[in-house]
């Protein structure tokens, strides 16, 4: 019977290897995600904040303000001086520009009054009007913060303010982690989930529909041998695919693997087992291969967004978090992330391992009841 196990595993691996299209697309999708999200979001400065400054004042003070705003080339704020306020506001409404800063007439006089050594504390501050498009909330918030900071700097210089307290950002892990470091483990988790949910459910239900399983049922082959071979072949496939993704991440995006590769492999294996078992349940429930795909999709699509693949779980509404924390995908992505980013060991990750193991066992028990040869 061991011989049958080897032959079935080999057969499944041959089918994988000869199904080029399947291999290509199951790797292409996570790769594309990684490259797209990795290069657009991960490498910093993607957001442009085009700003027009309209100067109604035309004094040395206003010129100096414009200069200091324009000088901030490191910030995403790109300022150009312009004189026509109506034109500038039109451009803002059309979305060509994101901000319009208007320096009112009399700004120079006000600044002079405030900065004079004899200035009384009652002298009012110069006011700049900042126009923005409130429908684009993310950019509006980001831009207002940047402009606020810059103006604050200018203001402090004018009043010769000396800060008493400052802050210095320091990550406690002293690791220089980027979004891509967060992203890659999530994408590996997502690939493991979708390959196994869709792959197992689709293939097994199609084999059943086409009578392939019945034909095997009429031999002395036993179901556990068949399932063991399926598991082995899929573990090998997923291992190699995960490795390819991790290597590409590490070579192109310099993602870090701070923890043990063995632990990483262990979690890839655990994740594969858990999602294969769920795939077997779907294959058992789906009446036709045509319904297996949509059922797998209905399960995997929300999991992809809820499971901490793209966003940290902590940033979700509290009501969701309780449910999300029971999902296998959350634990797989958390565990992979912890191993890769922080270098966590088994002593810290045993809850994740236990939960994935629990899912595997429960799902295989359920699958053994729903599994049908025909």
């Amino acid at each position: 019977m061991n011989f049958a196990y080897v032959q079935l595993t080999l057969a499944q691996l041959r089918i994988f290897a000869r199904n080029r299209q399947m291999l290509f697309f199951t790797l292409l999708f996570p790769l594309l995600l990684m490259i797209m999200l990795g290069s657009f979001v991960g490498q910093g400065g993607g957001v442009s904040l085009d700003t027009v400054i309209v100067d109604h004042d035309g004094t040395p003070q206003s010129q100096s303000l414009i200069a200091s705003l324009e000088f901030q080339s490191v910030s995403p704020l790109k300022a150009i001086a312009g004189s026509n306020e109506t034109q500038a506001l039109d451009a803002l409404k059309k979305g060509d520009k994101q901000f319009v800063i208007v320096i009112p007439k009399g700004y120079g006089e006000q600044i002079a009054a405030v900065s004079a050594p004899s200035a009384s504390s009652s002298a009012s501050a110069g006011k700049l009007a900042v126009y923005f498009d409130e429908t684009d909330a993310t950019r509006a918030n980001l831009g207002l913060a940047v402009i606020g900071q810059l103006v604050d700097g200018v203001s402090k210089k004018i009043t010769q303010y000396k800060p008493a307290v400052t802050i210095e950002g320091k990550g406690v892990r002293s690791l220089n982690l980027k979004y891509i470091d967060f992203l890659v483990p999530g994408i590996v988790a997502m690939m493991i989930m979708s390959n196994n949910l869709n792959g197992v459910a689709g293939q097994i239900s199609s084999w059943r529909e086409r009578g392939v399983l019945r034909r095997m049922q009429s031999t002395t082959l036993r179901a556990p041998t068949f399932i063991a071979a399926q598991i082995t072949a899929r573990l090998l496939l997923n291992g190699v695919q995960a490795l390819v993704l991790l290597l590409i991440g590490s070579l192109i995006f310099h993602t870090q693997v701070n923890g043990s590769w063995w632990l990483l492999i262990l979690f890839v294996v655990l994740g594969t087992l858990a999602f294969m078992a769920i795939g077997f349940i779907i294959a058992g429930l789906a009446k036709t291969p045509d319904s297996a795909g949509p059922i797998a999709g209905v399960i995997s699509f929300p999991l992809m967004f809820l499971g901490g693949v793209f966003f940290p779980i902590n940033s979700m509404p509290a009501a969701f978090q309780g449910v999300v924390k029971l999902l296998p995908i959350s634990h797989l992505s958390t565990a992979l992330r912890q191993v890769m980013n922080v270098g966590a060991g088994m002593s810290e990750l045993w809850p994740q391992a236990a939960l994935l193991g629990g899912w595997t066992i429960v799902a295989f028990i359920v699958a053994s009841f729903t599994f049908r040869w025909d």
């Binding site: 080897v6 032959q7 079935l8 080999l10 057969a11 009578g211 392939v212 031999t219």
Partner: protein, 329 residues
């Protein structure tokens, strides 16, 4: 393959039952697919299950193969009860299922080797493929095989464990005449090797040529079981006159009865069967019956078309017993 000595041994065993089906019943909801089927298959014979689609042939075979649990009755294969000793039954049978597709991406020899690995003992792969005329295809992928080649591969897989009983479920359905002939030769060769073959088909010519005995099935029941020759002889006529009486169905009741009476009075006619507006007259004396029929039909102003005469076949046996044709849906 079975050695010559074994073949002789098997041949001398013929006359001993190898399959005993007793009162098999299978229900799907309110529908009873197989209703008390009972027969015995002798060692070394080709046993045919003949009937239209939906007669219960496949379900009957699958209950004997142990693929479906009977709702009633018992099936024994080579002395093993399919309910208690299924694994033993599976060791001595080989199965070709109706329209099974295989792993398209595997090569012929890979798939045979894989099936061989499922059994405690199996035949060497290459001689088996040679016998099935697939040796030059052994490195081709299954999806590149023709329909006939795929069917021969399915039979090779059914033989890989050197079984005593081979089940072939409609092996020639959908094949071109050439491929059917090739498959018939293979089946007769297997019989010569001493294999017991259970074959289902809805082609009466195939059943007639291949089978030692035929179990005629309809609506889940056995309606006749005998050798093809004896089944045809049961019509007590060796010839048939067939024609279509268009408009017969719309005639008034009295006229219809009169017409049947007229046909029964034709010289030497033993039986009159009809389905819809097609009539069949069975006779032992074709010439006398035909001349008398034409005369009487002319005198009675009976209009007929598509007149033909032929030798009586298994199809006629089926029509005689059920009033329906084998090929009707």
């Amino acid at each position: 393959m079975t050695s010559a000595a074994e073949a002789i041994q098997n041949a001398s065993d013929s006359g001993q039952p190898i399959i005993e089906a007793d009162g098999l019943v299978k229900r799907y909801g309110a529908h009873t697919a197989v209703n008390g089927v009972r027969f015995t298959v002798m060692r070394g014979e080709v046993f045919g299950l003949l009937g239209p689609n939906g007669a219960g042939k496949t379900t009957t075979m699958e209950m004997i193969e142990g693929l479906r649990r009977p709702d009633g009755g018992v099936a024994n294969v080579a002395g093993f009860d399919t309910r208690k000793n299924l694994q033993k039954v599976k060791e001595v049978i080989g199965v070709q299922l109706q329209s099974t597709s295989m792993f398209d991406l595997l090569k012929v020899k890979e798939i045979v080797r894989m099936y061989a690995s499922f059994y405690p003992k199996s035949l060497p792969v290459e001689p088996l493929l040679e016998e099935m005329m697939l040796k030059e295809k052994m490195n081709d992928r299954v999806k590149h095989l023709s329909g006939g080649q795929k069917q021969r591969l399915a039979i090779a897989l059914a033989l890989v464990n050197d079984p005593q009983v081979v089940f072939l479920d409609e092996p020639t359905t959908g094949l071109d005449p050439q491929a059917r002939r090739t498959l018939w030769d293979i089946i007769l060769k297997l019989k010569k090797q001493g294999k017991t073959i259970v074959l289902s088909t809805h082609y009466m010519d195939e059943a007639h040529i291949l089978c030692d005995r035929i179990c005629l099935m309809d609506q889940g029941k056995v309606i006749a079981l005998d050798s093809p020759e004896r089944l045809v002889r049961s019509l007590q006529s060796d010839s048939a006159i067939e024609f279509r009486a268009s408009g017969y169905e719309s005639l008034p009741e009295a006229e219809r009865a009169g017409m049947v009476q007229l046909l029964q009075s034709v010289a030497e006619v033993k039986q009159v069967d009809m389905r819809k507006d097609v009539f069949i007259l069975y006779t032992d004396n074709l010439q006398a019956s035909l001349i008398d029929f034409i005369g009487k039909a002319g005198a009675a102003d009976l209009s007929y078309a598509e007149l033909q005469t032929r030798t009586a076949t298994l199809e006629d046996v089926f029509i005689h017993m059920t009033g329906r044709s084998l090929r009707e849906e």
